[in-house]
């Protein structure tokens, strides 16, 4: 059917298994899938159906149909997503951490992740001292590298914006970052070593 150029989205509630259109006219985005045997696009979630117009420079001029879930249900770590973790154990070659937020959503139940020595930073990766990068209890922003093994996701802090976001000093106060390797306690003045995240546009 001739799709008139519309900027506004079609607002319509769909449930899993409802037909959204034919695969010749639509591409399946998030929350939708294409059934190969009859080339139809079906919804796979309950939510509002919306159409995204295709980018004007692509060869495939089909709009993408997406279904956005109505519920803010729990998120699952996906390779490539930024997560907030709390460090639980620090060992010689890696640090274990619990994933508490994926993107901007908090998870309902924690997932396990590990940061290996070679993923802490981008330069001189074999000379990293784990105890000078993280301590148990630190809140760290990391990137999910991959699904990892059966026990944990593999995480990386090898970027300027990744690393320790908030840490508590031995005296019990929240420390202030003073460089990309050091944080200082405001109560005792002690300087502790961490792999600090570059927060803000500095």
């Amino acid at each position: 059917m001739g799709m008139v150029e519309r900027e506004e989205e079609e607002e319509e509630m769909v449930t899993p298994g409802e037909v959204l259109g034919k695969a010749t006219e639509l591409k399946a985005g998030r929350g939708a899938y294409v059934a190969p045997h009859n080339k139809t696009v079906y919804a796979s979630l309950t939510g509002r159906r919306s159409l995204i117009p295709p980018p004007s420079d692509s060869s495939d001029q089909r709009p993408t149909v997406e279904v956005t879930g109505h519920k803010a249900h729990g998120a699952v770590p996906v390779p490539g997503s930024t997560v907030i973790v709390r460090v639980t154990r620090v060992m010689a070659k890696m640090a274990s951490a619990d994933i508490i937020c994926v993107g901007t959503k908090a998870v309902k139940e924690k997932f396990s992740g590990i940061i290996r020595q070679q993923d802490v930073r981008a330069t001189e990766i074999d000379k990293v001292d784990m105890h000078a990068s993280f301590r148990p209890g630190d809140i760290v922003r990391a990137l999910v590298l991959s699904l990892g093994d059966a026990r944990a996701y593999y995480l990386s802090t090898a970027q300027n914006e990744l690393g320790v976001v908030s840490a508590e000093s031995a005296a019990g106060a929240t420390m202030v970052p003073i460089s990309w390797t050091e944080m200082q306690c405001p109560l005792s003045g002690q300087i502790e070593q961490r792999k600090v995240a570059k927060v803000g546009g500095q």
Binding site: T15, P16, Y33, Y42, T46, G69, H73, G74, F111, A150
Partner: protein
Amino acid sequence: MSGKGGSAPHPTTYSPSPQNQKRPKSLIFKDNVDWVRPDGRGFQHCRPAFLRTGAVNAASGSAYAEFGNTKVIVSVFGPRESKKAQMYSDIGRLNCNVSYTTFATPVRGQGADHKEFSSVLHKALEGAIILESFPKTTVDVFALVLESGGSDLPVVISCASLALADAGIRMYDLVTSVSVSCLGKNLVIDPIFEEENCQDGSLIIACMPSRNEVTQLTITGEWSTPKIHEAMQLCLDACAKLGMVMRSCLKETASSQE
């Protein structure tokens, strides 16, 4: 109170009178085509369905279903981390558990022969869930039968698929399930407890109505081939209608939450 010539205004001993000790006549005459079902439905009428999602706040998704006297509540947790002991898998896992409360049956604690329902529910649902969308994690489905009034497993399957849709788990389609009982020469859809007890055979279908695919078919008892065809046709038709009821329930909850 037919007291035996007692002059007291009310009986002082509690003893049953002999004429009340006769057992009630069996309600179902299998060979008589004119009998009426105990709850007055036609042979091909299903019970009215009451469905609600979002019954359990602590769970990712939940649903409550009442089909006549059969009451089931299902909660879905997940996707959450698999147990540490399990092997890595690049698709998700589904874990189902069906349990009966002690007060679900007329005789307390009589749900002993329903232990296989958990694996039956698992097989009915796993074909409809897109497991690749949550690798390495597990989705737990816990079904609790609060009152068993007949046709329990189909109600559990339908309610579980509604809870999964409420939890936002990606599925190919909803799974609806209906059962048919064979009583002598008659086919009776959506049997109640008394009808199930004296059935000759039963057929349970779990299907995905919009895609017209069957995820599970269970046949027990004595059946002839034309009867099987007729029963399957009845069930598939009822499943399609139940699917529409479930969809409208989901849409209603979703719109009221905005």
